[in-house]
Symmetry: C2
Subunit: 399 residues, 2 copies
């Protein structure tokens, strides 16, 4: 914090919803120590809101400009993003990125690259839009008191669920509306099948517990197979279905992670997180539950989060990954059993789940469901076989 | 962030609710780089939970110990706190404090003293217990997009209001219960007459807008004169009375501040902040509303917030007061008119308020009330004359 950077000349990659949002935020805030100098886009022929000379389609034009001392990377494609970030860090140029998929797959390596090149990579905008989750986990909840981080991390799927539960809108109509309003990812399966939440959870976990866990090792299930029977069931039980991502310490200095729908009771903070908003509950010994709530998607909210990362660079801020240097960071496990609701048609599908302690079973001409205990490890193992099947699952906590 | 302090040997002043809470948090978290070395208390004869040699009643024993490189000051008395903090900073020893009254009256000068001595003073625990409001305003919402900070900053008065509105408990009984549970200040008028919220608001404003405003210049009214008629009125209007502190930018690069009860509608985030919890809504251009919610009082939550300040010192963290160095920090004004509810008996009291645009008047044998526009400046001017009078006032926003 003691060597302020004199002036930030930004090379921006990507001018989609967030890139353009960032530019508009810059216009409003009139920061005198930072400016967007050049913008690299894929398609130069698209009409733009800024003069043509601002744009290039050649990354070399950014990297060759000696005045550019910060790269802001807001492109959609994870592989291209990865290459750009590597190239920038290796050239000693700090980077701000919002690409959660890229980070979720490459963070372990990018942490090492930051250390080796002494060059900062900031990405608070990659998780929960305008809510400063990563920064707070890194700087404020920086000790062993932390127990869990749990929340609604995807605005688009939450918007769909809100429309379904509050306005009885159909799934398809709600999805189209989310896309029209600009807070769905270009690939909707990212949102509705839980991948977006999963990627964010992987990033959050690094800052919560100091451990990187590959997304491929974490159970992840979305809301795209939810049907009227599931919605009716939730309403009967006076609960709402929410897509919840969570990482939680359990005994033996271990932690579990998962992304899946949950039936949430009214007394929970996340029950009231509506529409495209995100809500995160940070729980710790001594301080109890902290709830942070805000806009999790959209050009302006995410753009303002990117801006906070940019202005942090004015003060030479970098993540220290404090918890990775702790004495014994907790380790990932999937050894946990918990209560699950499964709606299904084919008995062979149900058998995959190896239910124990069954508390409810239901059968009609129309559909079947079962509630009982399942093992998280088994879910991780069978998760690929569940794709495309006529079933829906959701955690069913006792309260 | 580049010169980590090797080991923090803490001299602790005060071993009341928060001091003892901090010690218990330390026991749980087992931080290897920091320890409480010596504790200075007023009354050595009191039975303590720690061995007697840990304690002294002579501040010189702390200041004379060359190993002590951090002072944590958690005493109740603002004047003694001020002297300790000055003495420590002048000796070049960084300080963590939780004393909001001391800060609210001396922050301007203590900012200069920090600069002159290059010694850090941290005080996130002074506002909102476990919610990192100051840190986030300083580090994350560090730009001109911020519009307002508004919230419930006093857990004790909120606890009382919750018990009154949810459980129809009497004011006196609720106050006693809050004191028994340990989240009332030793002087209850601090809580229920709004001073605690006011002091926190003054500190928050420094980090929100870069300007220090003396508490004496800010309108402040509490809940201690609220009676059954006011509660009935709120219930009829389907609102709840909450004690709200707010600082808000208005046109002309100015901001207003006030602490007073408000009739809150159900759709507001702070409507649902119950019991001893605090809730803060940070509003900005582009990112909209951010809501932060958590335990605002009590030994463990506040102790864990003090711990976050302590561990921040392990990384040489200090507040940079960034917004004070901005080009044109907004300036404080009380030129604002807004809608107020006044319940009163004496017409001469009502006249003090100089109501305009009256929308409701009520008279019965029992009590009278009026709703209309008043000027914040006039309220500041008459506020001392309102003390002890048989009346109650609360902002009555149109929605």
């Amino acid at each position: 914090m003691t060597h302020p950077t004199p002036h930030l000349n930004i090379g921006l990659f990507g001018f989609g919803t967030v890139g353009e949002g960032l530019h508009e935020v810059f216009e409003k805030v009139r920061i005198k120590d930072a400016e967007i100098r050049r913008i690299c886009v894929r398609d130069l022929s698209k009409p733009r809101s800024l003069p043509a000379p601002m744009f290039t389609d050649n990354p070399d034009d950014i990297f060759a400009d000696p005045a550019i001392n910060l790269i802001v990377e807001l492109i959609d494609d994870a592989e291209s993003s990865y290459k750009l970030v590597r190239r920038a860090l290796e050239a000693g140029i700090p980077v701000v990125t919002g690409n959660k998929k890229m980070l979720a797959y490459h963070l372990e390596e990018l942490i090492e690259l930051q250390a080796r090149t002494s060059t900062a990579l900031l990405y608070d905008a990659s998780a929960c839009g305008s809510i400063p989750v990563i920064r707070n986990l890194e700087e404020y909840y920086d000790n062993d008191l932390l127990i869990s981080v749990k929340g609604i991390l995807n605005g688009s799927s939450n918007f769909i669920l809100s429309k379904i539960f509050n306005e009885s809108m159909s799934y398809d109509k709600a999805l189209r509306l989310a896309q029209e309003l600009g807070f769905a990812e270009s690939n909707p399966t990212f949102d509705v099948d839980g991948y977006d939440s999963l990627f964010k959870l992987v990033i959050i976990t690094v800052h919560a517990f100091g451990s990187y866990v590959s997304p491929d090792r974490v159970f992840n299930y979305g809301i795209s197979t939810m049907n009227d029977a599931d919605i009716r069931f939730a309403n009967e039980k006076r609960r709402r279905i929410k897509l919840v991502a969570q990482v939680e310490k359990i005994e033996g200095n271990r932690f579990i992670m998962c992304v899946m729908p949950q039936f949430i009771t009214k007394d929970k903070y996340i029950y009231s997180v509506e529409d495209e908003f995100n809500g995160v509950v940070i729980k710790g010994e001594c301080y109890g539950k902290q709830f942070m709530f805000g806009r999790g998607a959209g050009g302006h909210p995410t753009g303002s989060s990117v801006l906070s990362d940019i202005t942090a660079r004015l003060h030479d801020y970098k993540y220290e990954y404090k918890k990775r240097h702790g004495s014994t960071p907790p380790r990932y496990t999937d050894e946990l059993s918990f209560q699950l609701y499964l709606r299904y048609t084919d008995e062979a599908d149900r058998e995959l789940f190896r239910f124990t302690d069954i508390t409810e079973r239901y059968w009609s001409n129309d559909h079947k469901y079962v509630i009982g205990k399942v093992s998280l490890r088994n879910l991780v193992e069978i998760q690929e076989r569940l794709r495309g099947k006529d079933l829906f699952l959701a955690a069913y906590p006792e309260n």
